[in-house]
Amino acid sequence: MSTEDAVSSSATGPDATEGHAVAPSLAPDRGDRVAATIQRLAPFVVLAVTVVVGAVAFGGNFMSGATFRIILEDRVSLGLVAVGMTFVIISGGIDLSVGSVLALGAVLAAYSSVHYGPVVAVVLPLLVCSGVGLINGVLIAKGKMPSFIVTLATLLFARGFALYITDNATKIPLVKRTSGITKIGQGKISGVPVQIIVTIVVFIIAGIILNRTRSGQSVFALGGSEDAAVLMGLPVTRIKIGLYTASGFLAGLAGLITATRSLSGDPNLAPGLELQAIAAVVIGGTLLTGGAGSMSGTAAGVLLLGVIKNLITQKGTLEEYYQEVVFGAFLIVVVIAQKLLSKRQRT
């Protein structure tokens, strides 16, 4: 069983049905159900089709363990960040700060590995990045400020902080090779890279939390209607703070992994990662209006963007910039299709 199967199948089981059960469906007729099913399965179908297209077009060059490993390794940062983003978006918010927070985490990890040793190098980035997420959550939940603006501000703040530590990117810290933390980014457990295992485990845990726990259901309720969630007596403030803190933590984890893989803490890492994460989450079928979505869909969205990127690279005649054109067009097509399908469901 390839690791790719593991990601989609393990996560599909529990939440594919429940994620969208929130959509209103009073006495659905057959057409409605068909539309709902298409909407739910679309990311997986498109992913499968894309993989088949790749297999037909490039044969063994594409359908190889090496290619899949490259795709998966390339998806680690985006995947981890997208997990946090899925929670936040389902709750009706957004987190624009993730890319900068990742860079901050990477810088802190590399910097501490040199100055304070391996334990601090692991703990400090996770702590500080969770702290940034905590600040996001407090300002949004207690300060009643729009998530878009708050996280836009922390986007600037975290990037500024990362640049400040590295003296405006002139002193990029290198990870100390002997410190042992390089195992996080480069190590393998029975042939499978640790970073991929971590990402898959995070996806599985997140899927279980989202669909099998009270907190997860509260997130859906919060995104469906915040007023209703308050009236139901849900601890809305605490949930929100928790969500943004988790998003910051995952971005920090992604930063730690990136630093220990590339052996440096570049403060300019991951520009625009937040936009890619939002795109992957939306392509995975999570509604930006909140209240509906699934972790398995996000996994499919993240993989799909990776496969498309790889296919464009494989077709060497295409300039790399076409990647952006395809991504953008793809995102637009998917959201339009989603909109049309959900309209069909409502009528």
């Binding site: 603006i149 501000a153 703040f157 500024g160 952006e324 991504f327 637009i332 959201v335």
Partner: protein
């Protein structure tokens, strides 16, 4: 500037003074910053400094004008930076063998098309502005790079030289073309927002879309027009920036412009929830943010720290705005 309460003189009660200060936070902050510079920065009070600041702030102001209108309809446009990049890619292409005005017009048309796509997706299909314009951000940026083959294209053209760094007007009052363009656009957008029927509709749609639909306003065409105007303004800003650098550079030009513009609009006092547009506030906020960055650098604050200070200012500005919203 668009609500009556703000234009009333400050009353005696402290609450009214606080409200007055809140509504004019940008102007107060800008005033304080200028006083600081007058006291501590050498050669600050010269026309040269003023001109330099105005020249630098031009693209942000022009893009922010469009962004302010979009945010007034409770929308957002993330694609402005990519539209600027598209202009930067198109200018050198249409300079080969054509009149320079052709290239300007082509950029404006391209901008209008992007705005039309945004507007149709948002107003007719019903996609959220942030996702729709995220899609065009990525796709249009890619297209700009494809058109330019990812390269920087230098060009020399006397028309663009004048637009970029020349002056026009009679000898006793020569004005930089950039600054003049900016002032004209501020005036035009100001008149559109405050005096025209379209401006009233824009604010109405942003204030309460359902009520606007029920009142029989052409909601969809209003939204589409707003996004087209926003993209056209971004295209013009792209042309000005391309002219100034004398090269088409879609890889860099316009990068993160959406964040600067949104910041200026929000700090200027336009709420993200729509229903109100503050044109002058936006312009002065853009100037304030630029001057703040310049001042900090002049005072030897490291450049990354200015980003952090900017972040704090955004949060503070929105925090005050929120207080006003609850009154």
């Amino acid at each position: 500037m668009s609500d009556a309460a703000v234009s009333a003189p400050p009353g005696r009660s402290s609450a009214e003074v606080v409200a007055w200060l809140r509504a004019r936070g940008v102007y107060v902050a800008l005033g304080l910053l200028i006083l600081f510079n007058l006291a501590f920065t050498k050669h600050f009070a010269t026309t040269g400094t003023l001109k330099l600041n105005l020249i630098q702030v031009t693209p942000i102001v022009i893009v922010s004008l469009g962004m302010a209108m979009v945010i007034g309809t409770a929308g957002i446009d993330l694609s402005v930076g990519s539209v600027m990049a598209l202009s930067s890619a198109l200018v050198p292409i249409y300079l080969r063998g054509y009149n320079p005005w052709v290239s300007v017009i082509m950029c404006i048309i391209a901008g209008a098309v992007v705005g039309l796509i945004n507007g149709v997706m948002i107003a007719i299909v019903g996609i959220q502005p942030i996702v729709a314009t995220l899609g065009t951000l990525v796709a249009v940026h890619g297209m700009a790079l494809v058109f330019a083959h990812g390269k920087l294209t230098e060009f020399f053209n006397s028309f663009y030289n004048t637009v970029g760094s020349g002056n026009i007007g009679p000898s006793f009052a020569r004005v930089s073309v950039r600054i003049l363009t900016m002032l004209v656009l501020i005036a035009v957008v100001g008149v559109i927002v405050r005096r025209s029927t379209f401006g009233r509709r824009l604010v109405a749609v942003g204030g309460n879309r359902q009520a606007s639909v029920l009142a029989g306003l052409p909601v969809r065409s209003t939204i589409i027009t707003v996004y087209m105007l926003c993209s056209i303004l971004a295209a013009v800003a792209g042309v000005l920036e391309t002219a100034r650098s004398g090269a088409g550079n879609p890889g860099k030009l316009g990068n993160l412009m959406e964040l600067s513009a949104i910041t200026a609009v929000v700090v200027g006092g336009t709420p993200l929830t729509g229903g109100r547009v503050k044109i002058l506030g936006t312009c002065f906020a853009a100037l304030f943010l630029l001057l703040l960055g310049a001042t900090l650098i002049r005072q030897n604050v490291p450049q990354p720290a200015t980003l952090m200070i900017q972040a704090v200012i955004i949060v503070a500005a929105v925090f005050f705005q929120r207080e006003r919203g609850t009154r």
